[in-house]
Amino acid sequence: MRFSGKLRAAPISVKVSLLVIAAYVVVAVFAQYLAPYAQDQIIGDGLAPWSSVNWLGTDDLGRDVYSRLIYGAQNTLGIAFSATVIAFTLGGSLGIAAAIVGGWGDEILSRIVDVMMAIPGLIFSLMLMSILGSSVTNIILIISVIYSTRVFRLARSVAMNIVVMEYVEFAKLRGEKIGWLMMREVLPNIVAPLLAEFGLRFCFVFLNIAALSFLGVGIQPPAADWGSMVRESASMISFARDDFQAAAMPLMPALAIAALSIAVNFVVDWVLHLSSGLKNDG
Protein backbone atom coordinates (compact mmCIF):
# COMPACT_ATOMS: atom_id res chain seq x y z
CA MET A 1 0.00 0.00 0.00
CA ARG A 2 1.26 3.47 -0.83
CA PHE A 3 1.62 6.10 1.84
CA SER A 4 -1.54 8.02 0.86
CA GLY A 5 -3.51 4.81 1.15
CA LYS A 6 -2.09 4.04 4.55
CA LEU A 7 -2.94 7.58 5.63
CA ARG A 8 -6.55 7.14 4.56
CA ALA A 9 -6.73 3.92 6.58
CA ALA A 10 -5.20 5.54 9.66
CA PRO A 11 -7.29 5.85 12.82
CA ILE A 12 -9.11 9.12 13.38
CA SER A 13 -6.76 10.10 16.24
CA VAL A 14 -3.80 10.04 13.83
CA LYS A 15 -5.61 12.17 11.24
CA VAL A 16 -6.59 14.76 13.86
CA SER A 17 -3.02 14.74 15.19
CA LEU A 18 -1.58 15.40 11.74
CA LEU A 19 -3.96 18.33 11.30
CA VAL A 20 -2.97 19.70 14.72
CA ILE A 21 0.75 19.46 13.87
CA ALA A 22 0.16 21.19 10.52
CA ALA A 23 -1.71 24.00 12.29
CA TYR A 24 1.16 24.49 14.75
CA VAL A 25 3.68 24.68 11.91
CA VAL A 26 1.60 27.29 10.06
CA VAL A 27 1.18 29.41 13.19
CA ALA A 28 4.90 29.15 14.03
CA VAL A 29 6.05 30.10 10.53
CA PHE A 30 3.59 32.94 9.96
CA ALA A 31 3.47 34.31 13.54
CA GLN A 32 4.39 37.81 12.35
CA TYR A 33 1.32 37.99 10.09
CA LEU A 34 -1.12 36.25 12.44
CA ALA A 35 -0.40 38.10 15.67
CA PRO A 36 -2.20 41.44 16.06
CA TYR A 37 0.57 42.89 18.28
CA ALA A 38 4.31 42.40 18.81
CA GLN A 39 5.31 39.89 21.52
CA ASP A 40 6.86 42.52 23.84
CA GLN A 41 4.50 45.41 22.99
CA ILE A 42 2.69 46.92 25.98
CA ILE A 43 -0.72 47.89 24.68
CA GLY A 44 -2.72 48.91 27.74
CA ASP A 45 -3.55 48.14 31.33
CA GLY A 46 -2.32 44.93 32.91
CA LEU A 47 -4.69 41.95 33.31
CA ALA A 48 -7.42 43.34 31.05
CA PRO A 49 -10.36 40.94 30.51
CA TRP A 50 -11.14 39.24 27.21
CA SER A 51 -12.50 41.70 24.62
CA SER A 52 -12.80 42.30 20.89
CA VAL A 53 -9.51 44.24 20.99
CA ASN A 54 -7.54 41.80 23.17
CA TRP A 55 -9.12 38.46 22.39
CA LEU A 56 -7.58 36.71 25.38
CA GLY A 57 -6.96 39.80 27.51
CA THR A 58 -3.58 41.14 28.59
CA ASP A 59 -0.97 39.79 31.01
CA ASP A 60 0.25 41.51 34.17
CA LEU A 61 2.46 43.89 32.16
CA GLY A 62 -0.28 44.77 29.68
CA ARG A 63 0.90 42.64 26.75
CA ASP A 64 -1.64 40.94 24.49
CA VAL A 65 -1.94 37.27 25.58
CA TYR A 66 -3.24 36.09 22.18
CA SER A 67 -0.24 37.59 20.36
CA ARG A 68 2.16 36.12 22.90
CA LEU A 69 0.64 32.66 22.47
CA ILE A 70 1.20 32.92 18.71
CA TYR A 71 4.79 34.15 19.08
CA GLY A 72 5.30 31.43 21.69
CA ALA A 73 4.71 28.87 18.93
CA GLN A 74 7.46 30.44 16.87
CA ASN A 75 9.98 30.73 19.71
CA THR A 76 9.35 27.40 21.44
CA LEU A 77 8.97 25.32 18.26
CA GLY A 78 11.82 27.09 16.48
CA ILE A 79 14.28 26.43 19.27
CA ALA A 80 13.11 22.85 19.80
CA PHE A 81 13.25 22.12 16.07
CA SER A 82 16.74 23.54 15.55
CA ALA A 83 18.04 21.71 18.63
CA THR A 84 16.59 18.42 17.31
CA VAL A 85 18.08 18.97 13.84
CA ILE A 86 21.54 19.65 15.31
CA ALA A 87 21.22 16.65 17.63
CA PHE A 88 20.40 14.42 14.64
CA THR A 89 23.19 15.79 12.47
CA LEU A 90 25.74 15.37 15.24
CA GLY A 91 24.53 12.10 16.79
CA GLY A 92 23.52 10.56 13.46
CA SER A 93 26.80 11.19 11.67
CA LEU A 94 28.91 10.11 14.63
CA GLY A 95 26.77 6.99 15.09
CA ILE A 96 27.06 5.94 11.43
CA ALA A 97 30.78 6.73 11.40
CA ALA A 98 31.30 4.66 14.57
CA ALA A 99 29.51 1.72 12.97
CA ILE A 100 31.65 1.93 9.82
CA VAL A 101 35.01 2.53 11.51
CA GLY A 102 34.50 0.15 14.43
CA GLY A 103 37.42 -0.73 16.71
CA TRP A 104 38.80 1.72 19.23
CA GLY A 105 37.10 4.82 17.83
CA ASP A 106 33.71 3.16 18.15
CA GLU A 107 34.53 1.85 21.62
CA ILE A 108 35.57 5.25 22.99
CA LEU A 109 32.60 7.10 21.50
CA SER A 110 30.17 4.48 22.80
CA ARG A 111 31.57 4.62 26.34
CA ILE A 112 31.37 8.45 26.38
CA VAL A 113 27.75 8.23 25.25
CA ASP A 114 27.01 5.60 27.94
CA VAL A 115 28.29 7.94 30.65
CA MET A 116 26.38 10.95 29.31
CA MET A 117 23.17 8.92 29.14
CA ALA A 118 23.57 7.92 32.78
CA ILE A 119 22.68 11.50 33.75
CA PRO A 120 18.96 12.33 33.34
CA GLY A 121 18.49 14.85 30.50
CA LEU A 122 16.72 17.55 32.52
CA ILE A 123 19.28 17.38 35.34
CA PHE A 124 22.19 17.52 32.89
CA SER A 125 20.73 20.49 31.02
CA LEU A 126 19.98 22.33 34.30
CA MET A 127 23.57 21.84 35.42
CA LEU A 128 25.07 23.04 32.14
CA MET A 129 22.69 26.04 32.05
CA SER A 130 23.93 27.11 35.48
CA ILE A 131 27.51 26.98 34.24
CA LEU A 132 27.07 28.57 30.81
CA GLY A 133 24.18 30.92 31.64
CA SER A 134 20.77 31.26 29.97
CA SER A 135 20.70 32.33 26.35
CA VAL A 136 18.97 30.96 23.27
CA THR A 137 22.29 29.84 21.74
CA ASN A 138 23.24 28.03 24.95
CA ILE A 139 19.87 26.27 25.19
CA ILE A 140 20.14 24.99 21.62
CA LEU A 141 23.77 23.92 22.09
CA ILE A 142 23.24 22.17 25.43
CA ILE A 143 20.03 20.39 24.49
CA SER A 144 21.35 19.25 21.11
CA VAL A 145 24.55 17.83 22.61
CA ILE A 146 22.61 15.99 25.35
CA TYR A 147 20.05 14.51 22.97
CA SER A 148 22.62 13.64 20.29
CA THR A 149 23.72 10.81 22.62
CA ARG A 150 20.31 9.10 22.23
CA VAL A 151 20.46 9.57 18.45
CA PHE A 152 24.02 8.19 18.38
CA ARG A 153 22.86 4.97 20.05
CA LEU A 154 20.04 4.38 17.61
CA ALA A 155 21.98 5.39 14.48
CA ARG A 156 24.91 3.19 15.49
CA SER A 157 22.78 0.13 16.21
CA VAL A 158 20.76 0.31 12.97
CA ALA A 159 23.85 1.16 10.91
CA MET A 160 25.59 -1.91 12.37
CA ASN A 161 23.15 -4.11 10.42
CA ILE A 162 23.94 -2.28 7.19
CA VAL A 163 27.75 -2.09 7.33
CA VAL A 164 28.04 -5.89 7.11
CA MET A 165 26.16 -5.95 3.79
CA GLU A 166 28.02 -6.96 0.64
CA TYR A 167 27.41 -3.67 -1.15
CA VAL A 168 29.07 -1.72 1.69
CA GLU A 169 31.98 -4.16 1.62
CA PHE A 170 32.18 -3.71 -2.14
CA ALA A 171 32.17 0.10 -1.84
CA LYS A 172 34.98 -0.16 0.70
CA LEU A 173 37.01 -2.36 -1.66
CA ARG A 174 36.30 0.10 -4.49
CA GLY A 175 38.18 2.60 -2.30
CA GLU A 176 35.31 4.95 -1.41
CA LYS A 177 35.97 7.48 1.37
CA ILE A 178 34.09 7.36 4.66
CA GLY A 179 31.92 10.34 3.64
CA TRP A 180 30.60 8.42 0.63
CA LEU A 181 30.02 5.28 2.71
CA MET A 182 28.05 7.25 5.28
CA MET A 183 25.92 9.31 2.89
CA ARG A 184 25.43 6.99 -0.09
CA GLU A 185 25.63 3.47 1.30
CA VAL A 186 24.41 3.51 4.91
CA LEU A 187 22.20 6.57 5.37
CA PRO A 188 19.60 5.77 2.66
CA ASN A 189 18.99 2.41 4.30
CA ILE A 190 18.38 3.69 7.82
CA VAL A 191 16.27 6.76 7.01
CA ALA A 192 12.97 5.16 8.10
CA PRO A 193 13.84 4.34 11.74
CA LEU A 194 15.69 7.65 12.05
CA LEU A 195 12.60 9.58 10.93
CA ALA A 196 10.33 7.91 13.48
CA GLU A 197 12.98 8.62 16.08
CA PHE A 198 13.06 12.25 14.95
CA GLY A 199 9.42 12.72 15.89
CA LEU A 200 9.91 11.08 19.26
CA ARG A 201 13.12 13.01 20.05
CA PHE A 202 11.53 16.27 18.96
CA CYS A 203 8.84 15.62 21.54
CA PHE A 204 11.37 15.01 24.32
CA VAL A 205 13.46 18.05 23.32
CA PHE A 206 10.33 20.19 23.16
CA LEU A 207 9.17 19.04 26.62
CA ASN A 208 12.66 19.47 28.06
CA ILE A 209 12.89 23.06 26.77
CA ALA A 210 9.36 23.78 28.03
CA ALA A 211 10.34 22.43 31.45
CA LEU A 212 13.52 24.54 31.51
CA SER A 213 11.55 27.67 30.60
CA PHE A 214 8.90 26.80 33.14
CA LEU A 215 11.62 26.50 35.80
CA GLY A 216 12.85 29.97 34.80
CA VAL A 217 16.20 28.99 33.31
CA GLY A 218 15.16 28.55 29.67
CA ILE A 219 14.07 31.15 27.14
CA GLN A 220 14.36 34.54 28.83
CA PRO A 221 11.86 37.44 28.81
CA PRO A 222 10.65 39.49 27.03
CA ALA A 223 10.54 36.78 24.33
CA ALA A 224 7.19 35.00 24.52
CA ASP A 225 7.48 31.32 25.32
CA TRP A 226 4.85 28.87 26.52
CA GLY A 227 6.84 27.44 29.42
CA SER A 228 7.65 30.81 30.94
CA MET A 229 4.09 32.06 30.26
CA VAL A 230 2.75 29.24 32.45
CA ARG A 231 5.22 30.17 35.15
CA GLU A 232 4.50 33.91 35.06
CA SER A 233 0.74 33.50 35.39
CA ALA A 234 0.68 30.34 37.56
CA SER A 235 -0.69 32.09 40.66
CA MET A 236 -3.77 33.22 38.70
CA ILE A 237 -5.13 29.68 38.91
CA SER A 238 -6.29 30.29 42.48
CA PHE A 239 -8.97 32.69 41.16
CA ALA A 240 -10.62 29.96 39.09
CA ARG A 241 -13.79 29.88 41.22
CA ASP A 242 -14.67 33.53 40.59
CA ASP A 243 -12.90 34.28 37.35
CA PHE A 244 -12.58 31.65 34.65
CA GLN A 245 -10.51 33.94 32.42
CA ALA A 246 -7.82 34.35 35.08
CA ALA A 247 -7.43 30.60 35.53
CA ALA A 248 -7.22 30.15 31.77
CA MET A 249 -4.06 32.29 31.60
CA PRO A 250 -1.61 29.63 32.83
CA LEU A 251 -3.65 26.77 31.37
CA MET A 252 -3.71 28.01 27.76
CA PRO A 253 0.06 27.88 27.13
CA ALA A 254 0.26 24.61 29.09
CA LEU A 255 -2.49 23.20 26.89
CA ALA A 256 -0.62 24.41 23.79
CA ILE A 257 2.41 22.37 24.89
CA ALA A 258 0.33 19.34 25.86
CA ALA A 259 -1.70 19.23 22.63
CA LEU A 260 1.33 19.32 20.35
CA SER A 261 3.15 16.70 22.41
CA ILE A 262 0.16 14.35 22.38
CA ALA A 263 -0.33 14.83 18.62
CA VAL A 264 3.32 14.03 17.83
CA ASN A 265 3.19 10.97 20.09
CA PHE A 266 0.06 9.61 18.41
CA VAL A 267 1.61 9.99 14.96
CA VAL A 268 4.93 8.42 16.04
CA ASP A 269 3.08 5.54 17.69
CA TRP A 270 1.19 4.95 14.45
CA VAL A 271 4.34 5.12 12.28
CA LEU A 272 6.16 2.69 14.58
CA HIS A 273 3.16 0.37 14.46
CA LEU A 274 3.16 0.50 10.63
CA SER A 275 6.88 -0.11 10.28
CA SER A 276 6.86 -2.98 12.77
CA GLY A 277 4.46 -4.72 10.38
CA LEU A 278 2.01 -5.63 13.15
CA LYS A 279 -1.63 -5.39 12.25
CA ASN A 280 -2.88 -5.91 15.77
CA ASP A 281 -0.76 -5.96 18.88
CA GLY A 282 -1.63 -8.57 21.41
Binding site: S13, D114, V115, M116, A118, I119, P120, G121, L122, I123, F124, L126, M127, L128, M129, S130, I131, L132, G133, C203, L207, A210, A211, F214, L215, G216, V217, V230, A234, I237, S238, A240, R241, A247, P250, L251, A254, L255, I257, A258, S261, I262, V264, N265, F266, D269, N280, D281, G282
Partner: protein, 319 residues
Protein backbone atom coordinates in the same frame (compact mmCIF):
# COMPACT_ATOMS: atom_id res chain seq x y z
CA UNK B 1 26.73 -14.43 41.27
CA UNK B 2 29.74 -13.32 39.24
CA UNK B 3 27.38 -11.51 36.87
CA UNK B 4 25.78 -9.67 39.80
CA UNK B 5 29.12 -8.46 41.11
CA UNK B 6 30.21 -7.44 37.61
CA UNK B 7 26.97 -5.49 37.13
CA UNK B 8 27.39 -3.80 40.50
CA UNK B 9 31.00 -2.87 39.70
CA UNK B 10 29.80 -1.48 36.36
CA UNK B 11 27.31 0.73 38.21
CA UNK B 12 30.02 2.09 40.50
CA UNK B 13 32.30 2.72 37.54
CA UNK B 14 29.50 4.59 35.74
CA UNK B 15 28.91 6.71 38.83
CA UNK B 16 32.62 7.53 38.98
CA UNK B 17 32.64 8.52 35.29
CA UNK B 18 29.50 10.62 35.82
CA UNK B 19 31.17 12.40 38.72
CA UNK B 20 34.06 13.30 36.38
CA UNK B 21 31.60 14.71 33.84
CA UNK B 22 29.77 16.70 36.53
CA UNK B 23 32.99 18.04 38.00
CA UNK B 24 34.66 18.92 34.72
CA UNK B 25 31.59 20.94 33.73
CA UNK B 26 33.16 23.91 35.51
CA UNK B 27 35.93 23.95 32.91
CA UNK B 28 33.27 25.39 30.58
CA UNK B 29 32.76 28.39 32.86
CA UNK B 30 33.07 31.68 31.00
CA UNK B 31 36.01 33.85 32.12
CA UNK B 32 33.85 36.64 33.53
CA UNK B 33 31.95 34.20 35.72
CA UNK B 34 32.64 35.97 39.04
CA UNK B 35 31.33 39.28 37.67
CA UNK B 36 28.33 37.59 36.05
CA UNK B 37 27.30 35.83 39.28
CA UNK B 38 28.13 38.32 41.97
CA UNK B 39 27.49 41.57 40.11
CA UNK B 40 29.72 44.22 38.55
CA UNK B 41 31.39 45.55 41.70
CA UNK B 42 32.86 42.25 42.87
CA UNK B 43 36.13 42.73 44.72
CA UNK B 44 39.22 40.86 43.45
CA UNK B 45 39.41 39.16 46.85
CA UNK B 46 35.90 37.65 46.53
CA UNK B 47 36.62 36.61 42.94
CA UNK B 48 39.74 34.81 44.17
CA UNK B 49 37.71 33.17 46.95
CA UNK B 50 35.26 31.95 44.30
CA UNK B 51 38.04 30.44 42.23
CA UNK B 52 39.45 28.67 45.30
CA UNK B 53 36.00 27.32 46.20
CA UNK B 54 35.70 25.82 42.71
CA UNK B 55 39.27 24.53 42.75
CA UNK B 56 40.10 26.56 39.64
CA UNK B 57 43.41 27.59 41.21
CA UNK B 58 44.69 24.00 41.20
CA UNK B 59 45.48 21.57 38.37
CA UNK B 60 42.26 19.86 37.25
CA UNK B 61 43.21 16.39 38.49
CA UNK B 62 44.17 17.67 41.95
CA UNK B 63 40.97 19.68 42.16
CA UNK B 64 38.89 16.65 41.14
CA UNK B 65 40.63 14.41 43.66
CA UNK B 66 40.05 17.00 46.37
CA UNK B 67 36.35 17.30 45.43
CA UNK B 68 35.82 13.52 45.15
CA UNK B 69 37.41 12.68 48.50
CA UNK B 70 35.30 15.47 50.01
CA UNK B 71 32.11 14.04 48.48
CA UNK B 72 32.90 10.56 49.80
CA UNK B 73 33.25 12.02 53.30
CA UNK B 74 29.94 13.86 52.80
CA UNK B 75 31.58 17.25 52.28
CA UNK B 76 30.22 18.89 49.12
CA UNK B 77 32.08 22.18 49.57
CA UNK B 78 30.68 25.60 50.41
CA UNK B 79 27.70 27.36 48.87
CA UNK B 80 28.36 30.59 46.93
CA UNK B 81 25.47 32.30 48.71
CA UNK B 82 26.98 34.68 51.25
CA UNK B 83 30.47 34.23 49.86
CA UNK B 84 32.73 37.12 50.85
CA UNK B 85 30.52 38.18 53.73
CA UNK B 86 31.86 35.32 55.82
CA UNK B 87 28.58 33.52 56.51
CA UNK B 88 28.50 31.02 53.64
CA UNK B 89 27.04 27.62 54.51
CA UNK B 90 28.33 24.15 53.67
CA UNK B 91 26.42 22.54 50.79
CA UNK B 92 25.76 19.34 52.77
CA UNK B 93 23.87 21.30 55.46
CA UNK B 94 21.62 22.79 52.75
CA UNK B 95 20.90 19.47 51.08
CA UNK B 96 20.52 17.04 53.95
CA UNK B 97 17.11 18.15 55.35
CA UNK B 98 15.74 18.42 51.81
CA UNK B 99 16.96 14.96 50.85
CA UNK B 100 14.61 13.30 53.34
CA UNK B 101 11.70 15.41 52.02
CA UNK B 102 12.36 14.29 48.45
CA UNK B 103 12.77 10.70 49.58
CA UNK B 104 9.40 10.97 51.38
CA UNK B 105 7.69 12.27 48.22
CA UNK B 106 9.29 9.59 46.05
CA UNK B 107 8.28 6.82 48.49
CA UNK B 108 4.66 7.98 48.71
CA UNK B 109 4.55 8.10 44.89
CA UNK B 110 6.09 4.68 44.42
CA UNK B 111 3.76 3.10 46.99
CA UNK B 112 0.68 4.41 45.15
CA UNK B 113 1.85 4.22 41.53
CA UNK B 114 3.31 0.71 41.42
CA UNK B 115 0.24 -1.30 42.57
CA UNK B 116 -2.16 0.73 40.41
CA UNK B 117 0.05 0.39 37.35
CA UNK B 118 0.59 -3.36 37.78
CA UNK B 119 -3.11 -4.09 38.38
CA UNK B 120 -4.20 -1.95 35.41
CA UNK B 121 -1.47 -3.52 33.27
CA UNK B 122 -2.66 -7.04 34.10
CA UNK B 123 -6.30 -6.09 33.51
CA UNK B 124 -5.60 -4.49 30.12
CA UNK B 125 -3.55 -7.52 29.07
CA UNK B 126 -6.38 -9.82 30.15
CA UNK B 127 -9.11 -7.84 28.41
CA UNK B 128 -6.96 -6.76 25.49
CA UNK B 129 -8.56 -5.15 22.45
CA UNK B 130 -11.73 -4.40 24.41
CA UNK B 131 -13.13 -0.91 24.98
CA UNK B 132 -11.58 -0.92 28.48
CA UNK B 133 -8.13 -1.76 27.10
CA UNK B 134 -8.38 0.84 24.35
CA UNK B 135 -9.51 3.58 26.75
CA UNK B 136 -6.71 2.90 29.23
CA UNK B 137 -4.16 2.72 26.41
CA UNK B 138 -5.36 5.96 24.87
CA UNK B 139 -5.21 7.73 28.23
CA UNK B 140 -1.79 6.35 29.13
CA UNK B 141 -0.33 7.40 25.77
CA UNK B 142 -1.76 10.85 26.48
CA UNK B 143 -0.31 10.90 30.00
CA UNK B 144 3.16 9.92 28.73
CA UNK B 145 3.25 12.93 26.45
CA UNK B 146 1.90 15.55 28.87
CA UNK B 147 4.34 17.95 30.54
CA UNK B 148 4.48 17.47 34.32
CA UNK B 149 3.42 21.03 35.07
CA UNK B 150 0.28 20.70 32.94
CA UNK B 151 -0.87 17.67 34.95
CA UNK B 152 0.08 19.50 38.15
CA UNK B 153 -1.97 22.61 37.38
CA UNK B 154 -4.99 20.64 36.22
CA UNK B 155 -4.90 18.73 39.52
CA UNK B 156 -4.51 22.00 41.45
CA UNK B 157 -7.47 23.45 39.55
CA UNK B 158 -9.64 20.42 40.32
CA UNK B 159 -8.66 19.42 43.86
CA UNK B 160 -7.44 22.65 45.35
CA UNK B 161 -9.42 25.48 43.76
CA UNK B 162 -12.74 24.04 42.57
CA UNK B 163 -13.04 21.40 45.33
CA UNK B 164 -10.65 22.61 48.04
CA UNK B 165 -9.61 19.19 49.35
CA UNK B 166 -5.82 19.47 49.37
CA UNK B 167 -3.41 22.42 49.67
CA UNK B 168 -1.91 23.74 46.40
CA UNK B 169 1.31 24.58 48.21
CA UNK B 170 3.12 21.67 49.83
CA UNK B 171 5.41 23.64 52.09
CA UNK B 172 6.06 20.85 54.57
CA UNK B 173 8.34 21.23 57.57
CA UNK B 174 9.89 18.74 60.02
CA UNK B 175 7.61 19.97 62.83
CA UNK B 176 4.48 18.86 60.94
CA UNK B 177 2.84 15.59 62.02
CA UNK B 178 3.03 12.64 59.61
CA UNK B 179 -0.63 12.98 58.57
CA UNK B 180 -0.13 16.67 57.82
CA UNK B 181 2.88 15.94 55.64
CA UNK B 182 0.91 13.25 53.86
CA UNK B 183 -2.03 15.57 53.12
CA UNK B 184 0.34 18.24 51.85
CA UNK B 185 2.08 15.72 49.58
CA UNK B 186 -1.11 14.35 48.01
CA UNK B 187 -1.16 16.63 44.95
CA UNK B 188 2.60 16.45 44.20
CA UNK B 189 2.65 12.68 44.50
CA UNK B 190 -0.56 12.37 42.47
CA UNK B 191 1.12 14.34 39.68
CA UNK B 192 4.22 12.15 39.81
CA UNK B 193 2.04 9.04 39.89
CA UNK B 194 0.46 10.10 36.59
CA UNK B 195 3.89 10.77 35.09
CA UNK B 196 5.45 7.40 35.90
CA UNK B 197 2.35 5.19 35.92
CA UNK B 198 1.52 5.39 32.23
CA UNK B 199 4.79 3.93 30.98
CA UNK B 200 4.82 1.30 33.73
CA UNK B 201 1.31 0.22 32.80
CA UNK B 202 2.09 -0.09 29.09
CA UNK B 203 5.22 -2.15 29.72
CA UNK B 204 3.49 -4.41 32.26
CA UNK B 205 0.76 -5.05 29.70
CA UNK B 206 3.37 -5.95 27.09
CA UNK B 207 5.17 -8.26 29.56
CA UNK B 208 1.98 -10.15 30.45
CA UNK B 209 0.98 -10.47 26.81
CA UNK B 210 4.41 -11.87 26.10
CA UNK B 211 3.95 -14.57 28.76
CA UNK B 212 0.38 -15.31 27.65
CA UNK B 213 1.65 -16.44 24.24
CA UNK B 214 3.89 -19.09 25.86
CA UNK B 215 3.08 -22.79 25.22
CA UNK B 216 2.38 -23.60 28.89
CA UNK B 217 -0.42 -21.01 28.93
CA UNK B 218 -1.96 -22.68 25.90
CA UNK B 219 -1.64 -26.01 27.72
CA UNK B 220 -3.44 -24.59 30.76
CA UNK B 221 -6.18 -23.20 28.53
CA UNK B 222 -6.59 -26.56 26.81
CA UNK B 223 -6.86 -28.24 30.21
CA UNK B 224 -9.92 -26.04 30.69
CA UNK B 225 -8.68 -23.91 33.54
CA UNK B 226 -10.42 -20.64 34.32
CA UNK B 227 -9.09 -17.35 32.97
CA UNK B 228 -8.24 -16.06 36.46
CA UNK B 229 -6.46 -19.21 37.53
CA UNK B 230 -4.32 -19.03 34.40
CA UNK B 231 -3.40 -15.43 35.14
CA UNK B 232 -2.68 -15.83 38.87
CA UNK B 233 -1.09 -19.29 38.94
CA UNK B 234 0.56 -19.60 35.53
CA UNK B 235 1.15 -16.17 33.98
CA UNK B 236 1.94 -13.84 36.88
CA UNK B 237 4.82 -15.83 38.46
CA UNK B 238 6.52 -15.95 35.08
CA UNK B 239 5.85 -12.28 34.37
CA UNK B 240 7.16 -11.04 37.71
CA UNK B 241 10.72 -10.75 36.40
CA UNK B 242 9.90 -8.41 33.52
CA UNK B 243 7.42 -6.50 35.71
CA UNK B 244 9.97 -5.87 38.48
CA UNK B 245 12.45 -4.72 35.85
CA UNK B 246 9.87 -2.39 34.33
CA UNK B 247 8.95 -0.97 37.75
CA UNK B 248 12.55 -0.23 38.77
CA UNK B 249 13.32 1.18 35.34
CA UNK B 250 10.34 3.52 35.40
CA UNK B 251 10.95 4.70 38.95
CA UNK B 252 14.08 6.28 37.47
CA UNK B 253 11.76 8.69 35.62
CA UNK B 254 10.87 10.09 39.04
CA UNK B 255 14.26 11.77 39.10
CA UNK B 256 13.46 14.28 36.34
CA UNK B 257 9.78 14.61 37.26
CA UNK B 258 10.51 15.47 40.86
CA UNK B 259 12.40 18.65 39.86
CA UNK B 260 9.44 20.18 38.03
CA UNK B 261 6.81 18.96 40.49
CA UNK B 262 8.66 20.28 43.54
CA UNK B 263 8.96 23.61 41.79
CA UNK B 264 5.20 23.76 41.05
CA UNK B 265 4.13 22.92 44.61
CA UNK B 266 6.97 24.81 46.37
CA UNK B 267 7.86 21.48 47.97
CA UNK B 268 11.10 21.91 49.95
CA UNK B 269 13.10 19.10 48.31
CA UNK B 270 16.39 18.67 46.50
CA UNK B 271 14.77 19.40 43.12
CA UNK B 272 13.62 22.84 44.18
CA UNK B 273 17.00 23.55 45.73
CA UNK B 274 18.66 22.63 42.45
CA UNK B 275 16.41 24.97 40.43
CA UNK B 276 16.98 27.85 42.86
CA UNK B 277 20.73 27.24 42.76
CA UNK B 278 20.79 27.10 38.96
CA UNK B 279 19.10 30.51 38.86
CA UNK B 280 21.57 31.91 41.41
CA UNK B 281 24.38 30.08 39.56
CA UNK B 282 25.49 28.58 42.87
CA UNK B 283 27.70 25.96 41.18
CA UNK B 284 28.76 23.81 44.20
CA UNK B 285 25.11 23.25 45.19
CA UNK B 286 24.12 22.50 41.57
CA UNK B 287 26.95 19.97 41.25
CA UNK B 288 25.97 18.24 44.49
CA UNK B 289 22.28 18.04 43.47
CA UNK B 290 23.20 16.77 39.99
CA UNK B 291 25.40 14.08 41.53
CA UNK B 292 22.64 12.98 43.93
CA UNK B 293 20.04 12.77 41.14
CA UNK B 294 22.45 10.95 38.82
CA UNK B 295 23.31 8.50 41.63
CA UNK B 296 19.61 7.81 42.25
CA UNK B 297 19.06 7.32 38.52
CA UNK B 298 22.02 4.97 38.13
CA UNK B 299 21.01 3.12 41.31
CA UNK B 300 17.46 2.49 40.08
CA UNK B 301 18.69 1.31 36.69
CA UNK B 302 21.14 -0.99 38.48
CA UNK B 303 18.27 -2.29 40.59
CA UNK B 304 16.30 -3.02 37.41
CA UNK B 305 19.21 -4.99 35.99
CA UNK B 306 19.81 -6.89 39.23
CA UNK B 307 16.12 -7.72 39.47
CA UNK B 308 16.16 -9.18 35.98
CA UNK B 309 19.30 -11.22 36.74
CA UNK B 310 18.07 -12.54 40.10
CA UNK B 311 14.68 -13.55 38.70
CA UNK B 312 16.20 -15.40 35.76
CA UNK B 313 18.08 -18.52 36.89
CA UNK B 314 19.68 -18.89 33.47
CA UNK B 315 21.46 -15.56 33.98
CA UNK B 316 22.23 -16.22 37.64
CA UNK B 317 24.13 -19.43 37.02
CA UNK B 318 25.98 -19.05 33.73
CA UNK B 319 27.65 -22.19 32.45
Amino acid sequence: MRLLIARFGMGLLTLLAVSIVIFSGIKLLPGDFAEATLGQNVTPQVAAELRTALGLDQPAIMAYWHWLTGVIRGDFGTSFAGLGSGDSRPVAALILPRLSNTAFLATVTAVTAVPIAVVLGVLTALYRNTVFDRTVNFMSLGAVSLPEFFIAYVLVLLFSVIWPLFPAIANISPSMPFSGRLTASVLPSMTLTFVIMAQMLRMTRAAIIGVLSAPFIEMATLKGQSKWRIIIVHALPNAIAPIVTVVAFNLAYLVAGVVVVESVFVYPGVGQLMVDSVMARDIPVVQACALIFAAAYIGLNLLADIASIVSNPRLLYPR
